[in-house]
Symmetry: C2
Subunit: 211 residues, 2 copies
């Protein structure tokens, strides 16, 4: 249990490593020391060595890390190697904003469907992907087997929708519904609490004001 | 330096405490032990005692924590006591989605203006707040002195907009532009990387698949 906990903490840092490494690659940097990486990321070099050692220690003394290799290996750990498909449930402003967020595609996430309970939206396209009616959700999932469902629906509808999704066997839920949902074994969920981020900003401002 | 670092780690946990405590209050719970709070939040009781001790140790042996008191004290640390005003820059889908996110108001953040460079949107209202033209940004800030600017604009425009905002003296930037921005001393910034959250989900799915 304790080792699993540590893993989750490290998991939460992996996307940031991945993001920084992808920028290094784009800038043509092919190797980097833990010291340089730590300065860019604002964490200690020993933290970086410790984290990356968890995944097989790809660094070499005096050489540093091979950026592309490390990027690929972390990509594998993040499950990005073969790409992931996703559907968005809820075609309101938030659903549209998520669909338009081009960074996901760069990370290997492909949007294959959008669903809404409003019949008036059915047939509209967002970024080339059609909006379907929520009634067709189960049949779509059965045929297309998306990996991830994005919940861009209000809190009141979230629990019922999760129940429907659980029955389809979908494996991942990205939850923007602002409700704390419990998923059964075999399913993974990640809940986005935007107001946590806003409160963190406010707290940073307090500290700045005290300086 | 080391003590400041610890503080930032704890700061990042404060919003979650605040969120859980607000739910307890809504449910009429007036006191809670660190053990119960830890079970609800999925962190260890000793972590909770340690975190809360940082802010003056509000717990009493054998009694636990007074929920309302703790909620208010953490609210103060988060700078929520007197409320914060904010403006959104960018009235696209993301700007609309943020404006519609009702949880912010519950946390004491009040939206007072939305700006866009598209003249066609000027005068439209989102949640009762009017969209103004970006040209009027500086004069609006001078008069209304918002605390926070939300950057809901594309990466390419973010650096220039930050320069303009810095000149106005605004104190907080909530950055959705997907670019890594540096702010001068006296300003605070919090950047939302939605794809980090999606990658974390993917990594959790990998772990679930291996079980």
């Amino acid at each position: 249990m304790s080792s699993k906990k540590v893993a989750l903490v490290v998991i939460r840092r992996l996307p940031r490593y991945y993001r920084y490494l992808s920028e290094l690659l784009l800038n043509g940097v092919d190797r980097i020391s833990s010291k340089d990486l730590s300065e860019r990321m604002g964490v200690t070099a020993s933290q970086i060595r410790q984290d990356l050692n968890c995944f097989g220690g790809f660094g070499q003394q005096g050489y540093g890390y091979n950026v592309e290799y490390l990027y690929r290996e972390i990509g594998k750990l993040l499950g990005l190697e073969n790409g992931r498909t996703m559907i968005i449930i809820g075609a309101g402003n938030l659903g549209h904003a998520i669909a338009g967020y081009s960074n996901f595609e760069r990370r290997g996430f492909r949007l294959i469907g959008i669903f809404d309970s409003n019949k008036g939206l059915v047939g509209d396209k967002v970024k080339g992907v059609g909006i379907m009616h929520s009634d067709d959700l189960e049949s779509f999932i059965a045929v297309n087997k998306p990996d991830i469902a994005v919940l861009a629906i209000p809190k009141v509808s979230a629990q019922d929708m999760l129940k429907r999704l659980t029955a389809t066997g979908i494996k991942g839920i990205w939850n923007f519904s602002m409700s704390e949902l419990k998923v059964p074994d075999g399913m993974a969920i990640e809940t986005v609490h935007l107001s946590d981020s806003l409160m963190t900003l406010s707290c940073k401002m307090m500290q700045t004001e005290m300086e």
